[in-house]
Symmetry: none
Subunit: 403 residues, 2 copies
């Protein structure tokens, strides 16, 4: 009997409201140019300082100690899906990240425009990182391919040399090997089925590649394509199925809207200020049980190595907090999906600070919501997938286990 089964049997419904504010990439490490403080330590956060005294804190670990998660595993974890057992394919993540709708049974791939020589050998896997406008122009050319043998072809440009292709039709299967050999100096691979059920899909993919290459063979420098991460929308239980929660997402970026959609959340309007995100919660409070509010700026600042910008986003969240707390949720969690320390300019393996506020949370001695204070909080260190059980318990939405 695993965690999911146990949860399923214990869940009860009530009128509680759960809000999870996810400051993307929130966790950080001390920065020598800023008094050896982390952005959370450096920021002025009077509202968080007030709430944290009535909260219980801890640090969560997205996959296992030492593992740096991508956005997929990071969000799977905080939503209570085991990020090892349950994966979101790269094609799927890239596709939903571009705001393209994915239906069950579609097969999505993330693609590169590449440069091939006269013999068809790859000389640049990224076609000299062409500009996004050039990418758009090329995708428009490829869009002449509307379908192959009744399989609809959907093409969407991303940034630089990246785009996605979605195959929509009957009997498709994502078990197809990458055509990107990951090395220059060799030709792109043929799409090959890993399992028999995917042979038809591999054939369609190869026919697509032939036609696409024919259409752009005289372009320069992007005269070829590489495809990888073939995947389909995962068949994972929705929030309604898993937690009996009507869940809504307030997220501006397509990637996070896409992830929320995979989990069956309703996508609510997401204005471009943090106060606006919180106002959406207030407006829809009565219609949903669970609100995922996604703040992107912290991760962006972390990846840019911009300490001051990260501090600024944290302070904006703090200043907007009274809007949210005016319609106080039964349970409020403030956390991130992973750490993105400014000195690293990337996602990292560091445990993520989390605070949980509710009437019965059992406040600890934490006086500020910082990485170091969270280390001795009342939640301890725990795998991210346990955050949802903790929030459900605080919302009194779980029965006792065993007599």
């Amino acid at each position: 009997m695993n965690m999911e089964k146990i949860m399923e049997e214990l869940i009860v419904q009530n009128n509680s409201k759960i809000v999870m504010v996810v400051m993307d990439g929130l966790g950080d490490i001390p920065h020598k140019d800023f008094d050896n403080k982390t952005p959370l330590e450096y920021a002025s956060t009077p509202n968080l300082d007030h709430i944290v005294r009535e909260s219980v804190c801890g640090r969560h670990i997205p996959v296992f100690p030492g593992i740096t998660p991508g956005s997929g595993p990071g969000h799977l974890g905080i939503f209570g899906y085991d990020p090892i057992a349950c994966t979101i394919g790269r094609g799927v993540l890239e596709t939903v990240g571009l705001g393209v709708e994915l239906k069950h049974g579609d097969v999505a791939a993330r693609c590169n425009f590449a440069t091939l020589d006269a013999e068809g050998v790859i000389t640049d896997r990224r076609a000299g990182r062409i500009a996004t406008e050039e990418n758009r122009r090329l995708c428009d050319i490829l869009r002449q391919i509307k379908e192959i043998d009744d399989v609809e072809i959907i093409i969407e440009p991303g940034k630089g040399h990246r785009f996605v292709v979605v195959f929509r039709g009957q009997n498709l299967n994502p078990a197809v090997r990458d055509t990107d050999p990951q090395h220059e100096g060799q030709a792109p691979l043929k799409a090959e089925a890993v399992r028999e059920e995917a042979e038809y899909t591999a054939e369609i993919v190869n026919r697509f590649i032939d036609r696409a290459t024919g259409l752009i063979k005289d372009e320069h420098p992007a005269n070829g394509i590489l495809m990888r991460g073939f995947s389909s929308r995962p068949r994972i239980p929705t929030f309604k199925e898993k937690y009996k929660l009507e869940a809504a997402a307030i997220a501006a970026y397509p990637m996070y809207r896409g992830i929320a959609d995979l989990m069956g959340m309703t996508l609510l309007p997401a204005p471009d200020t943090i106060e606006g995100l919180f106002r959406t919660y207030v407006q829809y409070r009565n219609k949903y049980d669970f609100f995922f509010i996604h703040v992107k700026g912290t991760d962006q600042a972390g990846e840019d190595g911009d300490f001051a910008a990260k501090v600024g986003v944290i302070e904006k969240v703090d200043r907007a907090l009274p809007v949210l707390m005016d319609k106080r949720p039964s349970v409020l969690a403030v956390t991130g999906d992973h750490s993105s320390p400014c000195p690293l300019r990337s996602h990292s393996w560091h445990p993520v600070p989390v605070m949980v506020h509710s009437e019965f949370c059992g406040a600890d001695n934490t006086t500020r919501f910082t990485e170091n204070q969270c280390n001795s909080g009342g939640l301890g260190f725990f795998e991210s997938k346990y955050l949802m059980p903790i929030l459900m318990a605080n919302a009194r939405r779980m029965d006792k286990y065993g007599a």
Copy 2:
């Protein structure tokens, strides 16, 4: 290779004495009427304060974060049995809780007296929560059914409308579905075998129900019975098998005596004062290796929401502690089986404080045995099932793993 197998290979024997004082439902959360303190923080505990400075502390999690355990999973955990893999059936727990001996192969069910209308439809699943004396009178009537087809029938009244029935005989199997439909407005269900091996048992159960209903059909309001939680004594290794420990329980309440009995502990006299419990340990110290001392009052106070009473029980334990420490065990653990916070008046999901005292425990900086100080103790947060390995290690009863 799992925890049990690894432990088994490493265990050695010596003359050490391990004492585990379980203050039932010990963990708590701050109470606003008591300086925002928990009972452990509020209580005056000079003896614990002294010992804790030579101890290592932490918090244990009975099942996984967010899960509120019943007494069964709670005690399984602290005794090193995985509370997910190993369950004690509700019928069994209710039966041992009433002090009824259960043999291997017996099938036990927890039962309700209920009210049925003229068509046999349930109008009250609890027969208006009849008085315990009425329950006793009805059970005496049912005791006319002494056996069915060589299967002995044992009946024991509980509180209010609740009683247990134990079926004792050959070839019995507990895989029988509840006859309680959990709803009024329909007839009780027939007992049905979930597996073929239980078909004979289901037949005996149905014959019992027919005869029982015949005997009380003219009673009022309790003229029917509902049965659920069919289960048998779990086949779990005893403390002797698992840890090579001669174990004894000093517990006054039938439920905990019953659980201890399931684990092969000898039941020692349990006087009704805490000092008395500790004196039993002193008296039997030479005869056993492991002593489980169960203090019920903390849980009772927590479930009653009586903060002062919980503080009182903690202070009584503290005052009696010199009796125990006068015959100092090699390893002393003080903990609970779960939390029962006064503000919640029930079991809860909050991690349980624990302190472990031994010569080589590696004392941490904890100066008082409280939830918050335990948060940063040297044991960290850990699943309850690891408490026994920790105690065995402190007792020097485990070899090195691997070369």
